[in-house]
């Protein structure tokens, strides 16, 4: 076979071959996210089309069942069909796949920007176990002899987390981190009641940089909340704690390291102060990724702690849940654990619902089982050395990123200057804001034009113009270099071309919202029917 060629035999250096060369990649990625300009699902309505069909009852069955209208009052029968759209199956699929492409999953980006969230890699192999019918199709009321495998997984995961926390027992029933905080607060309440101190100990102490759910769960459970501010170095103020503790102290709910990534080295003193005053101590271990195998809640004297399995233990974040929480306690608190527990007699695993002092159910059945399976498999893939390697690498990656980021003009790392951080860091763009007027929120949105993003912080902003980065152990040095380079480029733009940043994102699925209506009861639209009534001014079919 021959083909026409120009130039000499090798072709090297001829104009046509030079044109065949691909130029080097630019320093930052020329990303553009999918922009399908997709309609709302209701606008796809095509009366007569069907997405799925449903088995009709057998004629004999239908005959035996008779006419429902004769057996129920008319008020209990639906008069008009639900206003759901009618759409063919493939069109429904295409709609949602387009929406999925307009979503930046952690599998697709260097997701180090969602600090406090521990966006580590969720291994794909663990998803295969969850989709197996021997998990997916198990019913919780099946005879225990047909569910020994899943009960063993739950039992073994409890033992692993007990070792990792140093605690005696662990409930895997809470549905997420905040649900575990609630379970812990509820157990504290039950313990105080058993001690005859329900009425007298009515104050819970937490800190500004602890997750808002610590304060909010305590309040919901009936406690008065005292929030300790950070001292000049960013640690929760121990003098403020001394002033706060007393005979009304029910408990301390505290995160360490807090969302600043600063580990409080006096944490055991905090615990001692509260214990000396007769209160209990619960450790929010949402930020445990830098501590695995290094230090444990029990070692600092805590009575309870909780982990977020979707953070430290790798289960995927699923657009905001389902997640999974683990509430770990000392033997003294164990009677109050949510029921049932999983017990093992040496040959057989069983559920123990006979726990009279239990706070009861925190969740239907036994917790977010698929995520318990994933977390178990993740720990088993790593072992003790691997978990320690996770912690050390998460800390190394963070300090490497801190080193890179602090080389960018306009950013700073408030508190504890020169001190290393553990697994995450809360930065401040105050200087950049003062010099350019660009806000941290603008920078975060501009990051989306380069295929990544970051999160500022929980409210209220204690650190001005905050940015919280947590690189976890999952990202390589090249990944971290790329992220830092994007951040540097966006910061440079804030100085050189602030309008581009302020009006970003430009390459995302949609442009900036005009969102005044979100706080206006006359115009907010939580649903399609609300939008049609309030914004489009339509009246409903029956004229109301």
């Amino acid at each position: 076979m021959t083909r026409a060629v120009n130039g000499d035999a090798t072709g090297v250096g001829t104009p046509d071959v030079a044109q065949a060369r691909v130029a080097a990649k630019p320093a930052t990625r020329r990303f553009h996210q999918a922009r399908w300009d997709e309609k709302l699902i209701f606008e796809l309505d095509a009366p007569g089309e069907r997405g799925v069909l449903v088995p009709a009852p057998d004629p004999d069955v239908a005959a035996a069942a008779g006419d429902l209208a004769e057996r129920l009052p008319s008020a209990l029968l639906r008069r008009t069909p639900p206003g759901l759209p009618e759409i063919g199956q493939q069109r429904v699929l295409r709609h949602y796949l387009r929406l999925s492409q307009e979503n930046l999953g952690a599998d697709l980006n260097v997701d180090v920007g969602q600090g406090t969230c521990t966006m580590k890699y969720s291994p794909k192999v663990n998803d295969t176990f969850v989709r197996d019918p021997r998990i997916a199709q198990l019913h919780p009321a099946q005879d225990g002899n047909t569910t020994q495998g899943v009960l063993e997984i739950i039992y073994r995961l409890e033992r692993l987390l007990a070792e990792i926390s140093g605690m005696d027992r662990v409930s895997l029933q809470p549905a997420a981190g905040s649900a575990a905080i609630w379970a812990n607060v509820s157990m504290i309440r039950a313990c105080l009641a058993a001690r005859g101190e329900s009425g007298t100990r009515d104050e819970v102490i937490t800190t500004s940089f602890s997750h808002p759910s610590n304060a909010a769960c305590a309040k919901t459970a009936g406690f008065r909340v005292i929030t300790l501010p950070p001292d000049a170095d960013g640690y929760p103020d121990i003098e403020a704690l001394r002033a706060a503790v007393g005979p009304r102290t029910a408990a301390l709910l505290i995160t360490n390291p807090e969302d600043t990534g600063i580990y409080n080295p006096r944490i055991d003193e905090f615990v001692r102060l509260v214990h000396d005053a007769g209160g209990l101590c619960s450790y929010d271990q949402a930020n445990a990724n830098g501590l695995l195998g290094i230090t444990r809640a029990r070692d600092a004297g805590f009575d309870l702690c909780h982990f977020n399995l979707h953070k430290t233990f790798s289960t995927p974040h699923m657009c905001g849940g389902p997640a999974a929480g683990a509430s770990a306690v000392t033997a003294e608190l164990a009677p109050y654990l949510p029921r049932p527990t999983v017990e093992f007699d040496g040959t057989r695993y069983r559920l123990d619902d006979d726990r009279p002092e239990s706070i009861g159910k925190t969740r239907p059945f036994y917790g977010v089982v698929p995520n318990l399976v994933r977390a178990y498999a993740w720990i088993m893939a790593l072992g003790a050395d691997g978990l320690r390697e996770v912690a050390e690498t998460a800390v190394l990656n963070n300090n490497y990123l801190v080193h890179k980021v602090l080389g960018i003009h306009g950013v700073s790392l408030p508190y504890a200057e020169g001190q290393p951080r553990l697994e995450q860091a809360r930065y401040s763009w105050r200087q950049l804001n003062e010099e350019t007027g660009v806000h941290t929120g603008d920078l975060g949105l501009r990051m989306a034009d380069f295929g990544t993003h970051y999160w500022t912080s929980h409210h209220p902003y204690v650190v001005p113009e905050p940015m919280t980065l947590e690189p976890t152990e999952s990202y390589s040095r090249a990944d971290l270099d790329e992220y830092a380079a994007i951040l540097a480029e966006v910061a440079r733009e804030a100085y050189d071309d602030p309008d581009t940043v302020r009006t970003s994102p430009h390459r995302a699925p949609v442009h900036r919202n005009r969102e005044g209506s979100l706080d206006d009861p006359h115009a907010w639209a939580v649903t399609w029917r609300g939008y049609r009534r309030k914004v489009l001014g339509e009246t409903s079919q029956d004229g109301t």
Binding site: A216, P322, R477
Partner: protein, 452 residues
Amino acid sequence: MDVPPRATHPYIPNASPPAREAMLAEIGAGSVEDFLVSIPQHLRMDGPLALPAPLRSEAELSAHMEELLARNTAVRPGRSFLGHGCYRHHVPAVVDEVVNRSEFLTAYAGEPYEDHGRFQALWEYQSLMAELLDTEVVNVPTYDGFQAAATALRMAGRYTGRRRLVLAGDIPADRLSRIHDYVQDAYELVRVPASPDAVRAELAAGDVAAVYTAVPDASGRIEPCAPELVTLAHECGALAVVDVNPLSLGVLAPPASYGADLTCGDLQPLGLHPSFGGNHAGFIGSLDDERLVAEYPSRLFGLVPTGVDGEYGFGDVAYERTSFARREEGNEWVGTAAALHGIAAGVYLALMGPHGMREIGQTILANTAYAQQRIAEVPGIALPDPEAVHFADFTVVYQGERTAAQIAASLLERGIHGGTPVNERASRYCVTEVHTKADIDDLATALEELVK
């Protein structure tokens, strides 16, 4: 033979010694220990964690998990009659395809721009669910139906400023346990039968924030007086909270149509696998009453214009309600809950459409009625409430010598799972659209042989 160096763990790229050393050198640190100095030695572990040896290769891990999974039995749909809050329905393949997409599975909390897809999918979920519930507001899902019920009751308490919560009818014990745990500090729970007289008496005693009832109730029964209880609540200035199985609402009236202020329940029947009770999510729906919306603790996504004509944008409605915005001054608390289950339910409703939802309701009601009749024909078995209409779940009473547990064990020997003993003499069974007439007949035949 030389021992090969330990391979870098695939989940931890920077655990490789060259990467680690290069990074330390760039930072100017000697070792990772330099970054851990803030953790005092006396709080450090003095040895490694006592954990099982790791299964570092995917093959070894998979083999270990296979050993465990092999001790579970996945039951063929028609051979399981277990329900009671967790249901085996057909999950359309498209639902699984969508929720298993990496972009949805692994995303978390991005902004409404780079995460436009999840905002639109969740807003559409709220909207589709609102059509089913006949409400104008539906929240981003909370953890499960238990939490939805407990929160709906606290919302009613805040809305009315009253302290008593009247729970009418047969409520599943576990749900009741959760409600009690969640409201006990601030509210008094009063349990009464689902009867207008009983509810009227409690309302007359005063200070009632809400009348709560479940349709269907714990035993699957459709309580005919539910609309009357709603009216009674309103006459005394209390809110009416009705807990529903959303899959019934293509046929049964949405409680908002008979005046319920808050409708709540669990999304599991809408496109979620049983997963050993692990796939639950809760919904709350209401009218778009400004004062009621102000009491939601959950995220509520709203539709807004963007700067470009024809583009839909999304954001948080009335965010200042939440504990994310105001910590303990917000309503209750909000955190990561069950968003992906909301997307699953949205896809399910989009596929089913109005006709699919009507038909599945009809099929389940017919199968339930047939199963009840067929089993009641078995000598030695009776229905406690033969006149009542049931949806999916129903209870049967054994009149012979064998206990409910013994009968369940004997059925299991024949490969039939269920019913769930509720006491020594009664079991709860469940049928859905996945059961054929033959499946139900097989169950009845087996019971004929077992119940003596």
